[in-house]
């Protein structure tokens, strides 16, 4: 039985996301807005624009396309005012992310069926911290949460997630370091079903997408979940570090191949990085971004909103709200 919409679309502007991105936007990216602060549209502007996009890790290909499309539009619509051109670019960038966001499936929480979130990613992107944030996020809606300590490889990863469990008052299912992660996940799913848990969040060890055996292990974890709950994992999340360069695209492709990634979470957006790789992923693979992480606290999580993202990171304050 369907109880409630899992993710409500918020009507009010996303204050949380904006605040989180505060630090980032102080960076060089006000420059895009400043770039259009000139009397006329000249070649230099487009060159500088391409550079600024590349500097944000948007990637050669997508930067190039954005600039070419912008130039085409300017020509077609006889645009002479730089402010208008800037608005076209802004909308193009939002559209690019929205195309992917539209792929986001509406997920429903069902009574008696745990909503399973499988959290994956390469080493050091912030999976464990993100899991704590997700746990806190779901708890605020009154949902019962359980965490599976599936990273049995990295030294003390289990301790790390247990510390978070205690802080957030969320139970953690864990075995010892070096144990089979499959067994942990199996136990956790069973426990979640028995206890009538609403949301089960599965941590996994960080792995580089080039490690075939570790990617196969991830597939196995997914199968173990699926076997017990056919519709799970309802969310297969890939955590990408905002500072990641063009390899992020390869990560998204390979993890999607292995465990059908449904959503992305971009972390460390409180850094100076712009997470521009999200544009390449949106364009090439179409994976939607669901959440962004903006700090080390459990509350530093926001739902992703393309408009806020583009405005905060690329166009500076005061735009679009």
């Amino acid at each position: 039985m369907i109880l409630k919409r899992m993710f409500r679309r918020r009507q009010e502007p996303d204050v949380k996301m904006e605040q989180g991105l505060e630090k980032t936007r102080k960076g060089v990216f006000r420059e895009i807005t400043r770039l259009f602060d000139r009397a006329e549209l000249d070649d230099e502007l487009f060159e500088d624009l391409e550079m600024l996009l590349i500097q944000a890790d948007v990637g050669w290909d997508v930067s190039q396309r954005l600039v070419v499309e912008l130039r085409d539009r300017i020509e077609e619509d006889h645009i002479v005012n730089p402010a208008d051109a800037r608005e076209i670019l802004r909308l193009e960038m939002i559209k690019l992310l929205e195309l992917a966001t539209q792929n986001r499936k509406i997920k429903l929480l069902q009574r008696g069926v745990p909503f399973v979130i499988l959290v994956t990613g390469v080493n050091g992107t912030g999976k464990t911290t993100s899991i704590a944030k997700l746990a806190a996020y779901h708890k605020q809606f009154g949902r019962s949460v359980l965490i599976a300590a599936g990273d049995t490889f990295r030294a003390a990863a289990i301790d790390q997630i247990k510390v978070w469990g205690e802080r957030l008052n969320v139970p953690v299912i864990a075995h010892q370091q070096g144990a089979d992660p499959g067994a942990v996940v199996f136990d956790a799913v069973q426990s979640a079903r028995q206890r009538g848990i609403d949301v089960l969040i599965v941590d996994t060890a960080g792995r580089l997408q080039t490690k075939h055996n570790l990617m196969a292990e991830l597939q196995k974890l997914r199968r173990i979940i699926e076997k017990q709950i056919p519709e799970a994992p309802q969310e297969s999340l890939l955590v990408i570090d905002a500072t990641t360069g063009q390899n992020g695209l390869v990560q998204a492709a390979e993890f999607t191949k292995a465990v059908e990634i449904t959503d992305l979470m971009i972390t460390k957006l409180d850094s100076t990085a712009k997470g521009g790789i999200a544009f390449s992923v949106a364009r090439e693979i179409g994976t939607p971004i669901a959440y962004i992480g903006t700090g080390e606290k459990a509350t530093d999580l926001a739902e992703f909103n393309p408009e806020t993202y583009v405005d905060s990171l690329f166009f500076g304050e005061g735009e679009g709200f």
């Binding site: 050669w60 360069g245 063009q246 100076t272």
Partner: protein, 446 residues
Amino acid sequence: MFETLSDRLNETFGKLGRKGRLTEKDVDDAMRDVRRALLEADVNFKVVKDFVASVKERALGQDVMQSLTPAQTAIGIVNEELIRILGAERAPLNTPDRPPQIIMMAGLNGAGKTTHTGKLALHLRKQGRNPLMVAADVYRPAAVNQLQALGRQIDMAVYEEGTGKDPVDIARNAVRFAQERGYNPIIIDTAGRLQIDERLMQELVDIKQAVDPTEILLVADAMTGQEAVGVAEEFHAKLDVTGLVLTKMDGDARGGAALSIRAVTGIPIKFIGTGEKLDALEPFYPDRLAGRILGMGDVLSLIERAQEQTTEEDAERLQSKMMKGQFDLEDFLSQMQKVKSMGPLNQLLEMIPGVGSQLRQAKAEISDDDYKKIEAIIQSMTPWERRHPEKINNPRRRRIARGSGRDRQEVNQLLAQFKDMQKMMGQFGQMAKKGKMPKNLPFNLP
């Protein structure tokens, strides 16, 4: 996912065909390829700009335009320039005027500082030293536990004061502790931090002042994008970083961040991390990273991995067996297992120049499952059968198929292929004796 620079340059110059002289515009097109390849490898855009300018100057000076193989000449120049920036010589760890040697690890969150503290300690112990690891990350939950767990894993001493103390005091006390107990070097693991976090950056400065380290290593993720330079500049400005450790190089990131950091800050790259295991730390070789940024394959690493798997005697014994046509299924199996332990086949092939791109074009997927099938079939044979594959008759084939869970056809196929292989090896042997090389090889010798 990304075309390599060699592919692109070959394409660009290939399009011009044999029309004779190339123009300056052709060179410009090629430089566009260079620029794109570097940007896709995450080389910082400012570094790319300067780099392309200097390559272009050299390319025009050296008459790439007149060269019969302009693509190769251009790649050669790019390669040389990359190596020049990366630093032609290896940079060893600094040695202190008087002991102890104190090494401080610093970097962004998730770069791999704690793991590399363990790796470096192990590396130094192998050189006969007696290292002490210091847990000065009091912020990340269980970071102290992580270093302790690593310490237990490799039986290495860890100094810690829990998470309630000031990291500056911990570092200072650790040095005193090490001097009393005779530990040297001292490796201090610090918490990950953003370069824009004033308070935490000041903490690093305070640790530096308190213990006066011989070496401050910036630990950076090979997958880092354009921000790498900004991050390194900030750490360098505050701390005077003495070396870079580039981590996660076992992935498929091109690692352009390292080039950018080196070019902008001049910090030498001292080590690269190539895996999660604690012995996966290698000295840095500029030529290899240059090749990787260009997507030119990594033959040296391939040879090294092969050498790790086999001894010279093994190789000689095998060679003489091959020459005499005595290479049997047992040798075949052991060779196969050696190749397998070098890593996934796809990854090995990508290290061979040219093969990588051809594979990508053909979208060829060589699965490690094929290995397993062959392995199962051979392992279902008796030792006598492995040594005398030609004597495996039909009843034996049936038994082998049943035993390995494969089809009869698959067994037949393997035996037939092996027979061809033996025949070819026999021919090699004959010809080698007569001193001529065989014609019509299935591959071209360079």
